[in-house]
């Protein structure tokens, strides 16, 4: 394994019957990188992400995540990654502390570790007065920030973020991204999907999927240069506008 690669993907393919959801995609993600994974609805983003998280077996191709093979070492992968999505993040009917303890417990961390880290997380988020409140009583932005902290609680090598900022207000969205930057600085590799095109600019590199293929992959400035665009929004529209799957169901 290449020490500097957090994720390597080579000709990874997933077919559902006749339908090729992900068609021989190849890319590498460097350790400590913020990697943006963009695509229209139905482009195959979710399917690709599931394979990398060890939730779905590829039809063909190879991929390693944190040095582990997605076919045979999914248990190792799961131990070394964090995952957070907009849809499922925290248990609404548990308190903040209970949520943290629960997730920390899953990864079998020592009590000492959990205790220290919990107070650290609480302090970072300024949640001292909210630790014993039910998650459902908190605003969405807070929930998302807690969910992110929980997803990197066990200090994974890579964290997968699936539309983490959907519906969050502009200020909290930026606070969320500062957290992402901090995590990246501490060496965690970030793999993130988003529908906010300004957030694509925050990534070190961006990969844009169209119809199961990777249409483009580069740093945001390079992409804008190549497609003669002033923003990532424009780049995305130029690339994805002619997607067949957006038209054909």
């Amino acid at each position: 394994m290449n020490e500097n690669k957090a994720i390597t993907v080579d000709k990874l393919t997933k077919k559902f019957g006749d339908f090729t959801a992900v068609d021989a995609i190849s890319f590498d993600v460097n350790a400590g990188e913020i990697f943006g994974f963009l695509g229209a609805n139905g482009a195959g983003k979710t399917t690709a992400m599931r394979m990398l998280c060890g939730l779905s077996l590829p039809t063909s191709g190879t991929a390693t995540v944190a040095g582990f093979d997605v076919y045979h070492q999914t248990e190792n992968i799961k131990k070394n990654i964090g995952y957070m999505s907009q849809k499922f993040s925290l248990y609404e009917d548990l308190t903040v502390k209970e949520n943290i303890n629960f997730y920390a417990g899953i990864y079998g961390k020592s009590n000492q570790f959990i205790k220290e880290k919990t107070s650290q997380v609480i302090a970072n988020l300024h949640l001292e007065n909210e630790v014993d409140k039910l998650v459902k009583s908190l605003p969405l932005g807070w929930k998302q920030k807690i969910a992110f902290s929980v997803s990197i609680f066990h200090e994974p090598e890579i964290v997968f973020l699936d539309e983490p900022t959907g519906g969050v207000d502009p200020i909290t969205r930026r606070e969320f991204w500062s957290m992402i930057y901090k995590a990246a600085e501490s060496g965690i590799t970030i793999f993130v999907t988003t529908h906010y095109m300004d957030e694509a600019e925050y990534c070190n590199r961006v990969c844009i999927m169209v119809d199961g293929h990777i249409k483009a992959m580069d740093t945001p400035p390079q992409l804008k240069k190549r497609y003669n665009a002033t923003s990532m929004d424009e780049v995305f529209l130029k690339l994805a506008r002619n997607a067949e799957r957006a038209q054909a169901p």
Binding site: A40, V168, P220, R245, A246, P249
Partner: protein
């Protein structure tokens, strides 16, 4: 007579331990044929407001009317003349495209043929798949079908609750193009969205946050009311640049904004001061330019103002 009018609407939700105020005195008017946007993050109260206006919820205080009909007293009349697309695309996944449309046509006592001109442009794209079950459509197509279903009875007011949330940028663009065309047919449209950049596409917008309206105006006027100097700054080390900016006394606010940081200055005409300050730090490829604010800049500014008012 305004097409939609809301006066001082207040709505509480009771939970076991406390009372959450979802709407704190919302007032606005929408004129006939207007494309009116309600822009705000989750929890702003957009859905509650839409539900009150579409007669699905009762407000705790205040009054509202749609086409002159009171939302409480005349709810039956309102239900005949409005089109409503809730947050989730509310289609029957196990019915085909055509069956969904036919069903919604009949419950509004009409037929697809009768109002075909209203939906024609949108439906043409769906027609090749009319025998397909709605559950098997892509997100963008579902969105189009849901819009057709909400339009099939030629409503005079259309309520679209976050039609573009979770939809990719391409479909979002297409959707707004469709709305523009609908507006030409004289339908009043109220649309809510969490995406700030969609505000520019509306005639007027209400910026909402935590149950309050921060501002109601045309997008141009909202931008006009942003009186401070705004700069876009970037360098090769964005994170340390942001810290440097935040440490500068003359900077009121600095935050990520796409490829740049946006910097709000405390006083006018301080571009040179900013340049001088930043040149002291090792910021390679430094670029500073004075820019027009975006709606999102205004929203951030208004959010902070409203927060300060609350603190005092």
């Amino acid at each position: 007579m305004p097409s939609v009018s809301a006066k001082n609407i207040v709505k509480f939700y009771e939970t076991k331990n406390d009372k959450i105020q979802a709407l704190c005195g919302i007032s606005f008017n929408v004129t006939k044929g207007e494309l009116f946007g309600i822009i705000g993050p989750d929890g702003a109260g957009k859905t509650s407001l839409f539900r009150i206006l579409t007669t699905l919820l009762l407000a705790d205080k205040g009054a509202a009317s749609v086409d002159g009909y009171d939302v409480v007293k005349d709810f039956k009349e309102i239900r005949k003349i409005v089109g409503y697309m809730p947050g989730r695309f509310s289609l029957y996944q196990d019915l085909t495209v055509e069956e969904n449309l036919e069903f919604f046509a009949t419950i509004f006592n009409t037929t697809i043929q009768q109002n075909y001109d209203v939906i024609k442009e949108i439906y043409i794209q769906l027609e090749p798949f009319k025998k397909r079950r709605a559950g098997k459509l892509s997100g963008g197509m579902k969105q189009k079908l849901a819009l057709c279903c909400a339009l099939i009875h030629k409503p005079s007011v259309l309520f679209l609750d976050e039609p573009t949330t979770g939809v990719d940028a391409v479909s979002r663009n297409e959707f707004w193009d469709m709305l523009k065309k609908l507006k030409q047919q004289g339908i009043t449209i109220l649309v809510s969205t969490p995406y700030m950049n969609e505000a520019a596409l509306c005639d007027r917008v209400a910026l909402m946050q935590l149950g309050k309206i921060l501002s109601i105006n045309s997008p141009a006027e909202i931008i006009n009311q942003f009186k401070k100097d705004l700069f876009a700054v970037r360098s090769s080390k964005m994170l340390s640049l942001l810290n440097d900016l935040k440490n500068f006394n003359e900077v009121e606010d600095a935050y990520f904004f796409g490829a740049y940081h946006h910097v709000v200055m405390k006083h006018k005409n301080e571009e040179q001061d900013l340049k001088n300050y930043l040149s002291k730090y090792s910021n390679d490829n430094l670029e500073i330019k004075n820019i027009q604010p975006d709606i999102e800049d205004c929203f951030i500014e208004l959010m902070k103002q409203s927060h300060e008012i609350e603190l005092h």
